[in-house]
């Protein structure tokens, strides 16, 4: 059996072969510890780490000195939120985030709540975007930090980070942005953005897993408390021997993103629109999240009158993500789609397609054909589809709960 077509680039990306080629010498010949100051092995490694730091900084428009290496976006988010909250807790103990954030943010906020902080979880509009006025209304005199993701991992919508940053800076409130899904997809220029802390991941942008970075602004200087203590690496913000090969990989991946982003995104948008057209050729399809304020890589659609788990079984020829975590007894619909106001049924029967650097027209055509055939077959088998076709309103039926 042929392996499934990979359409899950928002989960992770393959490492670009050019990135792998750059990494390998740092596992063999250049294995030195970048913290070794007394010999050539250490100097080589340190040079490579600093070049990579400059590449990351160049992609997002900041100074290399403002980049701290971490093990990934989850660690960056933990360091940003806990580090800022604990450092500034004398000023206030109120934090704000959004219900559609990644678990790395939501679970860290929950942990801070257990340590005496108060957190407001903002609703989003039906299109997945934040209501700017609702955010303003949630601000309090003791609010010290707001955390918002630039690009949503499930629905790909882009929040208005520039406007939110301006508003928060005026009020002296720290602003953390989770950009794990944004690098290489949208232009980020931290020289203009009023953002204090920004989290990055390598493996969503064709780099290796296990490495990420946190931007910590120097002008005006942002103070946070370290969460991992040890040898005082990374100017004390994050101790631990640096994984040179991973860092080199992230640097090269971000360099490629900077150089190729414009042409790549045009190609990817064309592929996504081809996929969108194929999906929308069917009836009773609901696109989740704004189509305008959205990265070109993402399509998230719900297929009405088809049950989620059977849909996943049906599309096993393509590797995609589902709105329902149906591996266990309890069917948990996506909390992101629920936050948009989608019913449980529509949240369950959703699929996130994410295309990327190695997706081809043939891949998209295969996916469209598969979806149309399989959804058609499941609907032919669905009594709800039959009722819909007969003009019966499913919601008007008295169903016996079981």
């Amino acid at each position: 059996m042929r392996p499934p077509i990979y359409l899950d680039y928002s989960a992770t990306t393959p490492v670009d072969p050019r990135v792998v080629d750059k990494m390998v010498p740092f596992l063999y010949d250049h294995f030195g510890n970048p913290a070794s100051r007394s010999h050539q092995f250490g100097w080589e490694a340190e040079d490579a780490v600093e070049m990579a730091r400059q590449e990351v900084a160049s992609l997002v428009g900041c100074e290399a000195k403002e980049i701290v290496w971490t093990s990934g976006a989850t660690e960056s988010i933990n360091l940003a939120l806990k580090g800022a909250a604990y450092f500034h807790q004398e000023r206030g103990r109120h934090l704000i985030t959004v219900k559609t954030e990644h678990k790395a943010t939501l679970d860290t906020m929950r942990e801070l709540e257990r340590h005496g902080f108060e957190v407001t979880y903002l609703d989003v509009r039906e299109d997945g975007l934040i209501d700017f006025e609702a955010l303003k209304a949630a601000l309090r005199p003791d609010t010290i930090l707001v955390s918002i993701m630039y690009v949503n991992n499930e629905i790909g919508v882009i929040q208005d980070v520039p406007a939110i940053g301006e508003m928060l800076r005026e009020r002296g409130i720290l602003f953390h942005v989770d950009s794990a899904q944004a690098t290489g997809k949208i232009d980020i220029n931290l020289a203009d953005l009023k953002v204090d802390l920004m989290s990055f991941s390598a493996h969503k942008t064709y780099g290796p897993k296990g490495v990420g970075a946190l931007f910590i602004r120097r002008k005006p200087r942002v103070r946070i408390e370290a969460q991992i203590h040890g040898g005082g690496h990374e100017r004390g913000f994050r101790s631990g021997t640096l994984p040179t090969h991973q860092i080199v990989g992230m640097g090269e991946a971000f360099r490629l993103a900077r150089v190729e982003m414009a042409t790549e995104n045009a190609r990817i948008r064309r592929l996504r629109d081809r996929l969108l057209a194929g999906v929308q050729a069917m009836e009773e399809i609901y696109i989740n999240g704004s189509l305008e304020q959205r990265v070109p890589h993402n399509l998230n659609a719900s297929f009405n009158y088809v049950e989620g788990e059977s849909l996943i079984m049906a599309v096993k020829g393509i590797a995609v993500s589902s709105g329902s975590a149906c591996t266990s007894a309890s069917l948990e619909p996506s909390y992101v789609l629920r936050a948009l106001g989608r019913s449980d049924e529509l949240a369950h029967s959703s699929i996130r397609f994410s295309v990327g650097r190695f997706t081809t027209d043939a891949d998209v055509d295969y996916a469209v054909d598969l979806i149309q055939t399989k959804v058609g077959k499941l609907r032919e088998m669905s009594p709800l589809w039959e009722m819909y076709k007969e003009g019966i309103d499913i919601n008007s039926v008295q169903w016996a709960a079981h």
């Binding site: 009158y305 088809v306 049950e307 989620g308 788990e309 059977s310 996943i312 079984m313 149906c326 591996t327 266990s328 007894a329 069917l331 449980d344 049924e345 369950h348 032919e380 088998m381 669905s382 009594p383 709800l384 589809w385 039959e386 009722m387 019966i392 309103d393 499913i394 008007s396 039926v397 008295q398 169903w399 016996a400 709960a401 079981h402």
Partner: protein, 139 residues
């Protein structure tokens, strides 16, 4: 999701998918489950003058196990009398399809669907059986 071969077979090649005319006096219709719970099964039987089920059809909105359970019972009820069909137990279905514990409710729903279809047929023929509450009609 490790489905048994039999579940996959019924899911890939479902038997007797379709609908019979629910207003036909020889047809009994059972519809059980609820969309919010993730399963709705519609099972229909056509009963001849000797009281034997000569045809069965299903439509199911649900997971692979729910589709397989309903597909299987359409095969099992054919050729049975109403009384014989009413003896089909959910445990027989679960055993035949090797359903894991979290999917037992699919077999229960399939048993309920048979009973609802039989009740519907009997209510049309005034044999005193009460209309099953599980036999839903559009409001």
């Amino acid at each position: 999701m490790a489905y048994s071969e039999k579940v996959v077979d019924h899911y890939e090649n479902p038997r007797n998918v379709g609908s019979l005319d629910k207003d036909d006096p020889s047809v009994g219709t059972g519809m059980v489950g609820a969309p919010a719970c993730g399963d709705v099964m519609k099972l229909q039987i056509r009963v001849n003058e000797q009281g034997v089920i000569e045809d069965a059809r299903f439509k199911t909105y649900g997971c692979g196990s729910a589709i397989a359970s309903s597909s299987l019972v359409t095969e099992w009820v054919k050729g049975k009398t109403l009384d014989q069909a009413a003896t089909i137990r959910n445990s027989d279905i679960a055993q035949e399809l090797a359903l894991p514990p979290v999917k037992i409710h699919c077999s229960i729903l399939a048993e309920d669907a048979i009973k609802a279809a039989i009740d519907d047929y009997r209510s049309k023929h005034g044999s005193g059986a009460e209309l099953s509450s599980a036999d839903q009609k559009a409001a």
